[in-house]
Symmetry: C2
Subunit: 565 residues, 2 copies
């Protein structure tokens, strides 16, 4: 393609609204343009990379026997009301009405549509298992769209849905999908981790997220320094490996702590470290009030709390309500002498604390010398806190480290949640109706494109992996001298005839502009026709490594065949 005939609007300056590295380079190198907040156009270069990513995804989905189809973005609200996601999705769900005032949504995912299709078309166990997928545009009205393609309102996803008669069949498909995702992200050249994730409210069981490692990532991954263990920080288990102190247990006593509210204030006032304090927080878990106690330097993980209590909903009780229930404010609540209708649970770390401090359930008063195994009664211990860097890895190998990740994919055993809501049954071998079980499997396609740029760039622009770059070769001609123009035209013809995908910068621009644009765009191999054109000699440069060399026109095809294959 001649650069003069296509649209690659590079920018010298970084646009003010570019709030992520990938966003900056994709805008500056002319791959995308924002239409409005969270909605983008893919310009010709962006579309070419998108196609290459999609082709890899398709190959791997087809290889495991998933069936590509195409479902609509416009969805009737009725199905969403049946699954109760009409309410559950809140403002993120884009809603509209047609000319007859009927409600519709723009699909953020397609569980409803896919399940209702299979409900209507699959009748027998003989037709199962069945996996369908699509690559299609999704909609989500983000409160704060940001980071370019990483968090948009209109975006491209690959979403797959598998339908099964048995849990074993689902397990098998889940593993196949997991392996296919691993192959896809490896082929895309991404530095990624698959992490244990939270199955959330949709009644699912196992789920893994695939995270591309990147500073801009909005998720924290807890991974082992020595094994392949990795989990979303919300899900990373903390083992009960705390050692009991050998310190002598002192006598429990009350002390005045006037106006000391926070853990830090109390610790400073009583002149001990933060980890000698016991932090007590009152939660409402469905209809039950629960006092949760952690060590002062630890943070309660509400997802763990929810799972431990098998609760649908967990929320912190506000100070007024706390006062009403416990007759004392936030600063001085504690686990000793709590009313019977309030359940007390402590994080494992609390059990081994010695001579610790906690609120005494009297305003401005704390207990000191609390020894939980001695002083707390009717108390459960559980893993309730967020993991910290340096904690032992739950698989027993190495210690936990943190990294930031961009969620690019998720595999999810949905189970029977949607099938039950939508009455999606099949007839088993005995002719009896049973509920289908399901998996769903997503890849954020446009987000993955941005994640690749987060990992493949330098200070001059994008440095695409060879097989994802919009073109294989960038051919530059430095000026309008006839010998340069002629040689460049010859080479363009020669390489195109040999089957290479070439972008030919034939524009009437200064050499400096062409070099800068070429670095921005990031095509892996650059051929520059310059001063030595009359000798048939050109410059050959590798974008990722900056290696460069002179090369005779006659050697180009062989050389390119060598580096590209």
């Amino acid at each position: 393609m001649r650069q003069s005939k296509t649209l690659i609007p590079t920018l010298k300056e970084t646009p003010a609204d570019a709030d992520a590295t990938s966003h900056k380079w994709l805008l500056r190198a002319g791959y995308i343009r924002q239409n409005f907040s969270g909605v983008y156009s893919f310009l010709p270069l962006g579309k070419k990379v998108l196609d290459k990513i999609e082709a890899i995804i398709r190959e791997e989905m087809d290889a495991i026997g998933a069936n590509e189809m195409l479902m609509p973005a416009l969805q009737s609200a009725d199905l969403w009301k049946e699954t109760e996601r009409w309410d559950a999705m809140g403002d993120e769900l884009i809603r509209l009405k047609d000319r007859h005032n009927r409600d519709f949504v723009l699909g953020p995912t397609h569980e409803e549509i896919a399940t209702s299709l299979i409900r209507d078309e699959v009748k027998s166990y003989k037709q199962l298992p069945l996996t369908i997928y699509q690559i299609q545009t999704k909609y989500r009205d983000e409160r704060r769209p940001r980071f370019g393609l990483l968090r948009g309102r209109e975006f491209i996803m690959k979403d797959a849905y598998s339908f099964h008669a048995t849990d074993e069949s689902l397990d098998e498909r889940y593993q196949q999908m997991y392996q296919a995702y691993t192959r896809i992200f490896n082929r895309l050249g991404l530095n990624f981790r698959s992490v244990i994730a939270d199955a959330g409210a949709m009644g699912g069981k196992d789920t893994h997220e695939f995270m591309a490692l990147a500073e801009i990532g909005e998720d924290t991954i807890a991974y082992s320094s020595e094994s392949d263990y990795a989990a979303n920080i919300e899900m990373a288990e903390v083992l009960d490996t705390y050692q009991f102190s050998t310190e002598e247990q002192k006598e429990l006593a009350k002390v005045d702590t006037p106006n000391q509210k926070t853990m830090q204030e109390v610790a400073d006032f009583l002149e001990h470290d933060l980890d000698q304090g016991m932090k007590s927080l009152l939660f409402k878990a469905d209809d039950q009030y629960v006092l949760v106690v952690t060590r002062g330097d630890h943070e309660v993980n509400e997802i763990k709390l929810k799972h431990h209590l098998h609760a649908n909903d967990v929320e912190l009780v506000d100070e007024d309500k706390t006062f009403e229930l416990m007759n004392v404010g936030f600063g001085s609540i504690g686990p000793i002498g709590v009313a019977e209708d309030i359940k007390v649970i402590c994080d494992y770390a609390v059990k081994s604390m010695a001579n610790a401090t906690c609120g005494a359930n009297e305003e401005g008063v704390h207990y000191i010398n609390v020894n939980p195994t001695r002083d707390l009664h009717d108390t459960e211990y559980a893993d309730l806190r967020f993991v910290s860097e340096g904690d032992p890895s739950p698989d027993g190998k190495g210690v936990i480290k943190f990294a930031k990740g961009i969620e690019i994919g998720q595999v999810f055993k949905l189970g029977r949640f949607y099938a039950e809501k939508l009455a999606a049954n099949y007839l088993n071998q005995q002719g009896k109706a049973e509920t289908l079980t399901m998996g769903c499997y997503g890849i954020g396609v446009s987000r993955t494109l941005a994640a690749i740029v987060e990992q493949y760039h330098d200070d001059r622009g994008i440095t695409w992996p060879v097989h994802l770059a919009p073109y294989q070769v960038h051919l530059l001609v430095l000026n309008n001298k006839p010998e340069q123009r002629e040689l460049a035209e010859e080479i363009y013809q020669q390489l195109t005839d040999a089957g290479f995908d070439v972008l030919f910068d034939d524009r009437n621009e200064r050499a400096g502009v062409k070099f800068a644009d070429s670095d921005l765009i990031g095509i892996p191999y650059r051929i520059t026709v310059g001063k030595k054109a009359s000798e048939g000699i050109v410059e050959f440069k590798v974008r990722q490594t900056n290696e460069q060399d002179e090369c005779h026109q006659g050697e180009l095809v062989d050389y390119l065949n060598e580096v590209l294959n």
Copy 2:
């Protein structure tokens, strides 16, 4: 692909809502399913055909140097207000609001987005001409979605936009697009006509529609019996080739025609043919009242009237208003003695009428023996009527015939309408800002799929052209006998290894079901493993022609290579 592992839900009966031939077969053969009125899912077979159609379109667009990109479906209402299409599109435009109560539309086309992109990114004549295109999902809230994929609310289009400095450049691109469209529809195997069409209200100039011929078509094409002339019936010119009568002109006279309202009633009452009456209709063209006169057997073509008067809007005046203006009702208005502020125009055919009848502008009175060249004064003559079958073709070759067509594509010289509304300028060679001129070029991709089925079916199902079929070969095994199963598995492996795209009906179904499904689906070549399996002999059948033959397993690859290449 094994048929047991994919989703091809064939139907024995035609669904009640299938209101077009293509709709019926696409539903029955399991290519599509309706999600709700006017919105469809493409099942695996449908998606495969869609991909093949899209690939042909892409090849031809790329071959003429159009640049593929991808614009969003979600569009800010602001641009639509700037071009005034926010109002002009009426209820067909799907509107929505985001969480911040801002207005959006779901794009029915992308002139606004494309023009604003080029306005922002293209600055100089050096970057022109430039053509962009996309294959993307469009939305239109049809009052009455029908005919399956032919008139839906969510549908797939290829839309291209070209931007030019000069009219000559636009003319050149228009011709290239016209040729590319001709190649595309030829490659898709369609029986189509390109027809002269109406440029409509958007200020455009030349435009051609590409019509697939089909009985279900909502457009009437007027074409020549002897040349390649074809036009939308709205646009087909009628030449002024009428012969004056040799009949003696009689004296103009008034006759009473009490209660005779319609042309037919008056003709019967006065005992003459319909074509001896002059039909007068009062229109309002912008702010001007115009009395339009045609022969009694002809119909006024409002588009011709609008063009003749250079009016933006033309509408028939109702009877009350007619009475107010002319002091007489519909039945008795006529062109003689009309008030000066009402313009009179007659269709060419009126000029040569002899001793004709027209309303006398008195209730229940008509003139007889009207001879227009003698009795009508200050009257213009023009081509104002719809063409009829048998009229001479405007190119002088043959006579006009009618056919029904499905509009599958349109090429359109938009000119400067959008560029002016959106201030899309470029700097010319003198550094002076000038307005861009534009073309736009659409293909209804999902509609084209349906149009192909309208032309390729028989009474048992779809009869795909070879290169558009979802698979090349349909392999059937008739029962579960080991020798049949084994041979079928061997052939499946053999053909797949040889690179053929095979659908293998490995289901545990009766032979009759398999044959019926295979006919419905319409894969061009069918191989049936049946009774002679133990001898390695199979049946080979061509779907379109029903030719069938026996064939030894060992000959299959060669035979398929021969028929497929």
